[in-house]
């Protein structure tokens, strides 16, 4: 891929798009982001749009995704819609601070005056203007654009995003709910860059919902960098429920200091091609990371959860449970790398991926990867791919439960247990409900949306 003569068409198309739009992108973005754009382009060109020959993208064909003309609207006006009119979150009893993002931009009418002292939530652009020191502590500090072409693309195109800061020892009781909306009358690529910084001893819970408001095809390249300092605790719940033309390339990169605690949850309901890159670096003693995922896919959906956990310091614990329910012609991928570095003794790292295949044409590729450079560790991984237990199905039917209902009960039971770890109860109940409706095929990607553009 490093041979420039061999750049594929997808790479060339994106390069051309960048050069064409560069002026407008720069005019509408802060210097701090602009300074790194050309370097991002360079690293992108070195890597190119990954073909299936690139190990990390072996099962997710991005060449197919980018081998066409995409558009970029580089202006903030893109976010100028009356969101209140078209979108309402219908999670009952979910008392959150709601933050809307539209096509990668911070929605100008977000009202966050009620945020408690010590909590800052604003656009990344504003953060660069008013909290530059804080942003600089995280932005591009722990992520390397040269390692991942999707990340390079984010560096080239992202102009805005969200900034969250929780000050030392501040406990944010009400969760933040970030609603990423895609909207437009033509197909487009939207890029978003977020920075989250939790100071020592602070706590926050963030629910992220990805939606599409219109029926166009979107590429959503959403990259979040997080620093969780000593004794801090963070939950990130991501519900992905976009239309099935949409490509969601989501990066979550978390750096954890000692005694910190992180819980992530990826709930995939709808979306065309979904790739979640989750990287966590346990870079302080006694840090703890729990990562969960439940993906339900059918038709031609493609879902790829790609996790990398670095155990860099001793006495850290990581636990991963990812489940997939695949039907139709859908394809699922799970790649989970646990890397225990030298000196990280007393590491405990667990990983599990269980998948149900409900049709003969559904696929699941699962690849656990353990790289262990220390003798004194406890690591395990397990993967299962299977069908519904026919004996259990007969047992349920023999009690008068119809075949369809019995199947659903079993699928739901399989999927449900991952959700028990969710620490916001109303959100858990709501996701439970969404999941059940998804499994029953009664939902649409726009379920929590007032307009029904894509039923």
């Amino acid at each position: 891929m490093s041979d420039k003569n061999a750049l594929n068409n997808a790479t060339l198309a994106l390069q051309a798009l960048y050069l064409e739009k560069k002026g407008a992108i720069i005019d509408n973005a802060p210097d701090f982001l602009n300074e790194k754009r050309d370097a991002a382009l360079d690293s992108f060109l070195v890597q190119g749009v990954p073909s299936k020959k690139v190990e990390n993208y072996k099962y997710t064909n991005l060449v197919e995704v980018f081998d066409r003309q995409w558009d970029v609207v580089a202006s903030k006006d893109d976010a100028n819609i009356d969101v209140e009119e078209v979108f309402q979150c219908d999670v009952p009893d979910l008392d959150t601070f709601t933050i809307l993002m539209v096509n990668g931009w911070y929605y100008p009418k977000n009202d966050l005056t009620a945020l408690p002292e010590g909590v800052t939530v604003c656009s990344l652009q504003e953060a660069f203007a008013h909290h530059k020191d804080l942003v600089e502590e995280v932005y591009c500090r722990y992520t390397d654009h040269t390692k991942d072409p999707v990340l390079s693309l984010n560096g080239m195109f992202a102009q805005d995003g969200l900034f969250v800061h929780v000050a030392k020892n501040v406990i944010l009781e009400r969760p933040l709910q970030i609603i990423n909306l895609m909207n437009g009358d033509s197909d487009r690529m939207c890029s978003q860059r977020n920075v989250v910084l939790l100071e020592q001893g602070s706590q926050a819970k963030i629910a992220v919902c990805d939606h599409t408001l219109s029926n166009q095809a979107f590429v959503f390249n959403n990259m979040t960098e997080v620093l969780v300092k000593e004794n801090a605790s963070l939950d990130v719940y991501n519900v992905q429920n976009q239309n099935n033309q949409t490509i969601n390339l989501s990066g979550l990169n978390i750096e954890q200091q000692s005694n910190s605690n992180v819980l992530t949850h990826a709930v995939v309901l709808h979306g065309g091609v979904i790739r979640n890159n989750l990287t966590i670096n346990l870079n302080g003693e006694n840090a703890n990371a729990s990562m969960y995922g439940i993906s339900v896919a059918d038709q031609e959906q493609h879902v790829d959860n790609f996790t990398t956990i670095y155990h860099s310091k001793p006495h850290c614990v990581s636990n991963q449970v990812y489940k997939n329910v695949m039907s139709g012609n859908s394809e699922g991928v799970f790649t989970g790398c646990i890397h225990v570095l030298p000196y990280a003794e007393k590491t405990a790292a667990f990983q599990q991926n269980n998948s149900l295949l409900l049709t003969e044409t559904a696929q699941m590729n699962t690849k656990p990867q353990l790289i262990i450079d220390n003798d004194d560790v406890k690591c395990s991984h397990g993967a299962t791919v299977g069908q519904i237990d026919e004996e259990a199905l007969f047992y349920l039917r023999s009690r008068g439960i119809g075949e369809h209902e019995a199947r659903l009960m079993m699928i739901f039971a399989f999927a449900h247990d991952v959700l028990s770890n969710l620490r916001i109860e109303p959100l858990r109940d709501r996701i439970d409900q969404l999941l059940e409706r998804r499994l029953r095929g009664e939902d649409s990607p726009c379920d929590s949306c007032a307009i029904e553009c894509n039923s």
């Binding site: 023999s398 009960m409 449900h416």
Partner: protein, 250 residues
């Protein structure tokens, strides 16, 4: 209630039932005994609709319906109940959800509205006492982590909840200690009425001390070769199954 005529069935290509005839009337208790491999469990599974078993021929009439034509769920809704020899563990499906769904599907079949939550819980409480089932068990997943005895009690508990017309108890006594056996038998006896019937499939006579049959049938090589009253069970207990084989000319 149940009329089996010349039933022939196979599993994995091997014919097990070779022309079985049996008639059961309301209010009766039938015991089916026989040596290992005679086809006892096959009969229970075929009647309840397990599709691992293939019907080769014959007919089964159940209350005027062609039983073999019904799906397993509709056999249940029509009033057939199988107490499994090996009840299946279903992780993640709670007992309460399972029973509520089952009871309400039965009600729907009879054009009745779903039970109110309160009424359902009351019913559950009553039926639980019948089999002395531990309250905490119903808060768990179906059969998950239940002991052998608990699983069998759970079968009778489900039977009590669904109030079937015809119950088939497939080796319900296997793996039970004497106390659990008595509890299970008492449960079955308490549910007995002039309108329903029970088929007890068993290898040993032991259970029949508690559930007293009106008829005892001996199943051998896929056919019923002998039918008599309850004294036949005692004779079997005394002599073993060998004399049957001799009588059959082997």
């Amino acid at each position: 209630m149940l009329k089996i005529k010349d039933l022939r069935a196979s599993v994995e290509g091997k014919q097990i039932l070779n022309g079985l005839n049996l008639e059961v009337k309301p209010g009766e208790v039938h015991a089916i005994m026989g040596p290992n491999g005679a086809g006892k469990s096959t009969l229970a599974n075929v009647l309840s609709g397990n599709d691992k078993y293939d019907i080769i021929g014959g007919s089964v009439d159940f209350g005027g319906n062609d039983l073999l034509d019904l799906s397993p769920e509709n056999r249940s809704r029509e009033g057939l109940f199988l107490s499994f020899q090996y009840p299946v563990e279903i992780p993640g499906v709670s007992m309460v959800n399972f029973l509520k769904t089952a009871v309400n599907e039965h009600r729907k079949y009879r054009n009745l509205p779903p039970l109110k939550a309160g009424d359902f819980l009351k019913m559950m409480r009553e039926k639980k006492e019948l089999v002395h089932i531990d309250s905490t068990l119903t808060n768990r997943s179906v059969n998950e982590g239940f002991s052998g005895g608990e699983k069998k009690k759970n079968e009778i508990f489900q039977m009590a909840m669904l109030q079937p017309k015809l119950s088939i108890l497939d080796e319900t006594d296997s793996g039970l200690d004497i106390d659990a056996l008595r509890i299970v038998a008492n449960g079955v006896n308490a549910l007995k009425s002039k309108d329903n019937a029970t088929i007890v499939v068993t290898h040993y006579q032991r259970l029949l001390d508690y559930i007293v049959p009106d008829y005892v049938h001996i199943l051998y090589k896929g056919r019923i070769v002998k039918t008599a009253g309850k004294e036949l069970a005692l004779e079997l207990e005394e002599k073993g199954y060998d004399w049957i084989k001799e009588e059959m000319g082997e």
